[in-house]
Symmetry: C2
Subunit: 461 residues, 2 copies
């Protein structure tokens, strides 16, 4: 520990109550990007961030896009490495609302058996995380009146709705955004003791399919037996997507899926991952993916196909003997290795179309496509950051995989020619995308301290 | 035609505008029995009928049940045959509301290429139909100050929600309700020219199944691949319910399904049923049931399995990469011959349970069970009614089947020891259970005249 960082860490400890108040203010804004009814709230969250960053001395602005705005801010040192920090200020929808124990947009500081948490939609994904970085900068500026690196913020408002405006924005602002390295704060700890730098991320392909049958909803007595039921067609198609070994049956699906190296497998085996605890935490016990694979492989290194939602006919209280006119499902694929989302979208649509019988037709609607990412860990900042994280947390930091998708890293590489380092402090039990989302106070506090240390270490790397 | 009936028919013709106004008043009451929010409206419809029947001189009352009330009224001749009339005053839900061209509870008299119609939820099923009988009684009473038969009304408020209170009510009121014959007005014409007396009805078995998986909705990135998705389990189960020939695969399902006799097949072949027109009317062309069966067999004489509704995960606008905690479906079976709904409920539940994997559990919820009905047509009233209908309509009346279910006929037989005669004037294009339900003015007008003639004919049979 150096004389530079010690007073910054002390300042962070002292300012924690105020940092929590600032986070709470941001969490109170219901910035649900996928729901058009909340467009004004997304905008309000952007304005809040522009004001915060401006007050810290950054040149902050809200850039228009075809969708929700991008918050951009520039500042920091004239010399030294130039870092671009990415996070997102939009959040997931909150339904089913009745399962929340408190208002998702009225953040609560709560004591739990595992320690204090702040509970609200977005507490972990991603408002709490992005605020760890902003608070680290605040402490640096308060103590040293300067930052050890040049810094550009790029905070997105559409991450939870497929980032439709991100690529056009990056393409239109290549020169302004290009830095030496991107820092992305939207991932998790390996476990409560062990921080991780995520070096493998799965890609994502989202599709919505609607099977149309009769011209209108029919009485299942008058027409049942003679009229094709689109819900029957849809369930047949969805059931066909997996074979009895849990493998996905879309032709060519596994063509570009690599086996992990023995070296990586050995590294992962050494992490002490406990599949029983992982699944047990959500009431499950049996890894449900491909036979012969470990649970860690299933979530970090193997592709998936999931039904994220489906609806047909009458779903209210009681019973209605309707033969529905249509049935629809939202389906997503997590991709790994070199799987090409565009090629697989076509393969999936061919697979579906081949199973649509006479008298039915299928309508497709696309919801995003991003390939998997594998990071370039030879950049010296990776080792510097690993050391900084290891100084802050009880156990040494590890290079890990992640099951989720973050097209941003791939976009930074392909559009800005810039590598990304993914560091975050979320926990598996944060219930992101679920009711009662929370962020541990320990994640928030150590997260701020971690970034303060990383800025120091990277500036010297 | 006799001197007795001629002035009654003239009175019906003269009073038609007022009869339509009375029907409209009843249609304005949104008596949706399956929706607890409309319980008060169901009660209001019952009160309206008690008032109408009381004004006609019947001893009318509203009998309490565990659910919605039963409207009962007694009156008519001291001598002669004793008939019990059954209809229902509750209606189906109206969703999807946005597909209605006018308010479902603001009845509209409209000109269409096929003639005048009255459009509203319940216009055909069953308020318009039950009012044909009440208006026939009104005309008889106006002209003759008496009815040619003894009459008991039994009007139900739970038909569209599985009739949970009907059997207990019949069992508790055996003596008060037992008559020589029941008249049930809740079926259709064979076609616009040809009235029908329905002598075969399919039974119905309703089930709701919910597959529970993870303890909460999960992020499909963090858990996808390792956690079992209940929507995947549900679609596999639902897809397994039919084989490639359209047959239902539940073990023992066809054990008690008889083949129709050659005689009945010949009679049905003679009806000139046009499957292309039947399916074409709802945008379809290929009979979707068991291979090797005619469309008429599929809807009148073969059992079915239909998905009436299903829901899982995120179904709102946009996309949410959720791995849902549960998935549910409403499934119904139409039954024929001697199929036992209770035996088949168990067979279905065994079928489902056998397909639920580790880490998932299934929850069942029952929604009614009624066997198929085959009427005893040797009762002299059947021939009398057939003659009366043939006098009123352009083509002679026929004994027909019906794909829908009406447990009431079976209940009248088993509990009250009474045969039922099912006569109604609905058309296939009435859009019952769908948006924009209507009843033809011709159905309403000739329906009233038909009942007036039937009362005359049956009283003399």
């Amino acid at each position: 520990m150096t004389a530079t960082i010690t007073p910054v860490l002390a300042q962070i400890d002292q300012d924690l109550p105020q940092a929590l108040e600032r986070l709470s203010a941001l969490l109170r804004i219901p910035s649900i990007s996928t729901d058009p009814a909340h467009a004004g709230d997304v905008d309000k969250a952007a304005d809040w961030l522009v004001a915060e960053l401006g007050a810290l001395g950054f040149a902050a602005r809200k850039d228009k896009t075809a969708g929700h705005p991008m918050v951009v801010a520039e500042g920091g040192a004239e010399e030294g490495p130039h870092l671009l920090f990415y996070g997102h200020y939009d959040v997931q929808p909150v339904d089913p609302l009745e399962l929340w124990e408190s208002d998702p947009f009225d953040p609560q500081l709560q004591d739990t058996p595992k320690g204090k948490v702040i509970r609200a939609r977005g507490a972990s994904d991603d408002k709490g995380q992005l605020m760890t970085f902003i608070e680290a900068c605040r402490a640096w500026l308060k103590v040293h009146d300067s930052l050890p690196v040049k810094l550009t913020f790029c905070l997105e408002g559409e991450e939870e709705s497929g980032s439709p405006s991100l690529v056009p924005y990056l393409e239109a602002n290549r020169d302004a955004l290009r830095a030496d390295l991107a820092l992305i704060c939207d991932t998790g700890l390996f476990d409560a003791q062990t921080p991780g730098i995520t070096t493998m991320l799965r890609g994502l392909l989202g599709e919505e399919i609607t099977i149309h049958g009769p011209a209108r909803d029919l009485h299942s007595g008058s027409f049942g037996g003679a009229a094709m039921n689109p819900a029957r067609v849809l369930t047949r198609i969805l059931a066909d997507l997996h074979d009895e070994n849990g493998r996905i049956t879309v032709p060519g699906f596994y063509d570009d899926v690599p086996e992990i190296t023995d070296e990586l497998r050995a590294q992962w085996d050494g992490l002490g991952f406990d599949p029983d605890a992982f699944l047990g935490g959500v009431g499950l016990s049996v890894p449900a993916g491909e036979k012969g694979r470990t649970a860690l492989e299933m979530i970090w290194a193997r592709p998936t196909c999931e039904i994220n939602g489906m609806i047909s006919g009458y779903t209210g209280a009681g019973f209605k003997t309707v033969l529905p006119a249509q049935a629809s499902a939202k389906v997503s694929f997590r991709l790994v290795g070199q799987q090409d989302p565009h090629k697989l979208r076509k393969a999936f649509r061919d697979f579906v179309t081949a199973r649509v019988p006479a008298d039915c037709r299928v309508e497709f609607h696309e919801h995003g496509a991003s390939p998997a990412s594998v990071m370039e860990t030879s950049h010296p900042a990776f080792e510097a950051a690993r050391g900084a994280l290891s100084d802050e947390w009880p156990k040494p930091a590890a290079f890990v995989g992640a099951g989720g998708s973050m097209p941003i890293a791939e976009d930074f590489k392909s559009i800005l020619g810039m590598d990304s380092m993914l560091i975050g402090f979320a926990k598996d039990d944060d219930q992101i995308h679920s009711p009662n989302e929370k962020y541990d106070l320990d994640s928030f506090h150590r997260g701020i301290r971690s970034w303060a240390r990383i800025l120091d270490a990277v500036s010297k790397a």
